[in-house]
């Protein structure tokens, strides 16, 4: 019977051409959107590698206040904040904090010569941010006091960066080169996905900021770990305490959770719009398919009547109709796969092949579901054809 269906579809290829094309296009649309969703979903499910739930960000902007003594003021503010009962720990960092939407790309290479330089996201942290972020280390250690007198500034790499720069050897104690500056690797973290939930995992290079360091520039960004349950009250307290020391400065306080939510919303809006467009296209294909099938059944009443007369059951007729649609779908699907498979083959967009294969499977399943959904009612119509009536027409 399957062979018969293929013969029938093949012989009717001229009539079926449009349907196959529609199926092909529907598959491509489903595949593209599916790839995108699979990509984001995969990223979303990858652990961030740090804690953000009770982390707040405080921005201290001196504005037009005198240059001298700014760092001292910041340090005083930090000490005061740390003393608040709601605060666990405080540390300075660069302004590209997680979910902030800003990042700092940097090239890092192995050894003094910086061999095999690779693109990473650079990040400055003070020792206390270990407690704030609670980044689990897979080897070595986090920054600390003992780095104060070191010949080379210390660095912590994420595992992917470490494996790229030092394949099959321990990265600990190795020298790396970043913008003509040498660092010594002291630790390896699993990952540090500060770009956001939907962004791909990428190598990160963490550098230490010592308490006296002025490298972070004028403005200071602080990250704090607060105790669970901290809210508006603590925020007010923090603002008052800060302004009592840093008179005339601008103070901005927000939470990483809020920033994360805002970033997610911003990223999901265009995706949602795309999905909507996709749904619209697919509904159009479905309506077209439904209409064409309905019409085809009416045009083929005599044929279906003959089949009944030759011994097809009503169920057999409806199976045939669905079967034909599935064969058509398969033709469209094969054409679509021909296109889709180019993406993983060419390694397009630096997306792992698994994402594309997941999307192919999902798009294929969606396409078949669509086909069966559209064929169900016409197939019932076909099954209801009375052979004697159908064979008298024409």
């Amino acid at each position: 019977m399957i062979r018969h269906l293929f013969t029938l579809v093949w012989n009717r290829r001229r009539a079926n051409f449009l349907l196959i094309t529609e199926m092909f296009l529907a598959f491509v649309v489903l595949f593209v959107v599916g790839s995108l969703l699979a990509y984001y979903q995969r990223n979303y499910r990858t652990p961030l590698g740090f804690a953000y739930a009770q982390v707040w960000r405080v921005d201290l902007d001196p504005g037009t206040q005198p240059q001298a003594g700014r760092l001292a003021t910041v340090r005083q503010v930090m000490a005061r904040l740390r003393a608040l009962p709601g605060v666990v720990s405080v540390g300075r960092t660069s302004s590209n904090t997680p979910f902030s939407g800003s990042f700092n790309n940097t090239d890092v290479g192995a050894g003094k010569e910086g061999k095999g330089a690779t693109r990473a996201s650079g990040f400055y942290v003070e020792d206390d941010l270990r407690e704030v972020f609670q980044v689990p280390l897979v080897a070595g250690r986090w920054f600390g006091r003992r780095d104060d007198g070191a010949a080379l500034p210390p660095a912590v790499l994420t595992r992917d960066l470490a494996e790229q720069l030092f394949p099959r050897q321990s990265p600990l104690g190795q020298v790396v080169l970043r913008s003509d500056e040498q660092f010594r690797v002291v630790g390896v973290a699993e990952r540090f996905r500060s770009d956001g939930d939907l962004e791909a995992l990428r190598p990160v290079f963490l550098m230490r900021v010592s308490p006296q360091d002025t490298a972070l520039g004028e403005a200071s960004t602080l990250l704090l770990r607060v105790r669970p349950g901290a809210g508006a009250l603590l925020e007010r307290q923090m603002r008052t305490e800060t302004l009592a020391i840093a008179k005339g400065w601008n103070v901005g306080i927000t939470t990483l959770a809020k920033q994360r939510a805002a970033q997610l919303k911003e990223a999901l809006t265009p995706i949602g719009a795309l999905v909507l467009v996709c749904v619209f296209l697919v509904v159009n294909v479905a309506l077209g398919l439904f209409g064409v099938l309905w019409q085809a059944i009416n045009q083929r009443r005599a044929e279906l009547g003959v089949r009944r007369a030759m011994g097809a059951t009503a169920g057999g007729i409806s199976k045939q109709v669905v079967g034909e649609v599935l064969v058509l779908t398969t033709f469209g699907l094969l054409l679509g796969l021909l296109v889709a498979v180019q993406f993983p083959l060419l390694g397009a967009f630096d997306v792992p092949a698994g994402v594309y294969f997941t999307a192919m499977a999902a798009a294929a399943a969606g396409l078949y579901a669509l086909a069966v959904g559209c064929a169900l009612y016409p197939s019932q119509l076909a099954a209801g054809i009375q052979p004697a009536v159908a064979l008298r027409e024409e």
């Binding site: 029938l8 011994g311 057999g316 004697a388």
Partner: protein, 229 residues
């Protein structure tokens, strides 16, 4: 082939009324007919007298308005849709007045059609039987043609081959020689006579040809839906 004492086909008090919105047509009226196993019966009558209607009742393609059709002594109403489909497939070979070939299938695929609905046949079996049937009607050279590439007479012969392919117990033929020239008509008639004689196939044939009707064992005349003589 199962044998039973009951007649192959028995029609009792058949009434067939076609009801459309405006008119009611009595296509068959009080038909009582018994077709015995191995009989060759012809049906004659003017156009519109109900011959095709009668044949489609015998072919289990339609149900009578009143009365019963029984196959091997069992009333058709008692069969499920599946059983009916099985009967049509195994027992009956239908030759339609207007051929009703499937235009999207090649000749061979058309002839294979009844075998397609018969479980347990391999593709090779089907092919062989279909080729044999085509050989009988002299169309072995046209197996890969499509119906649109054939003449009316050739299409008629394909339709006959399709009915033969399943080796049915009963062949119901609605003017099977109507579109053939007299020589080809003779050949088809001889073919049917041979099937009837050698295989004991029961045949009911609608014809307009008195000469052909005379070659059959029994002639039923219809007029305006009723049996006359």
């Amino acid at each position: 082939m199962q044998t039973s004492a009951a007649p192959v086909l028995q029609l009792t008090d058949i009434e067939k009324i076609y009801q459309t919105k405006t008119i009611e047509t009595v296509a068959l009226h009080r038909i009582n007919l018994t077709i015995g196993r191995g009989e060759f019966v012809s049906i004659m009558g003017p156009s519109g007298c109900g011959k095709s209607t009668l044949l489609s009742l015998m072919g289990l393609l339609d149900e009578p308005t009143h009365g019963t059709v029984a196959v091997d002594g069992r009333p058709v109403q008692s069969y499920s849709d599946k059983e009916l489909a099985g009967l049509r497939n195994l027992k009956i070979g239908f030759v339609f007045q207007s051929y009703h070939l499937i235009n999207d299938l090649a000749v061979l695929d058309n002839v294979e059609l009844p075998l397609l609905y018969r479980p347990g046949l391999s593709g090779k079996d089907r092919r062989q039987r279909a080729l044999a049937a085509l050989d009988k009607v002299g169309l072995s050279a046209r197996t890969n043609h499509f119906p649109s590439q054939l003449s009316g007479g050739q299409r008629q012969r394909v339709a006959i081959a399709r009915a033969l392919a399943g080796a049915p117990e009963i062949i119901l033929a609605d003017e099977p020689t109507g579109n053939l020239d007299s020589v080809m008509g003779e050949e088809i008639m001889d073919l049917l006579l041979g099937l009837n004689r050698e295989h004991g196939t029961t045949i009911v044939m609608v014809t307009h040809d008195e000469q052909q009707a005379l070659k059959t064992q029994r002639l039923i005349r219809l007029f305006d839906g009723s049996q006359v003589g």
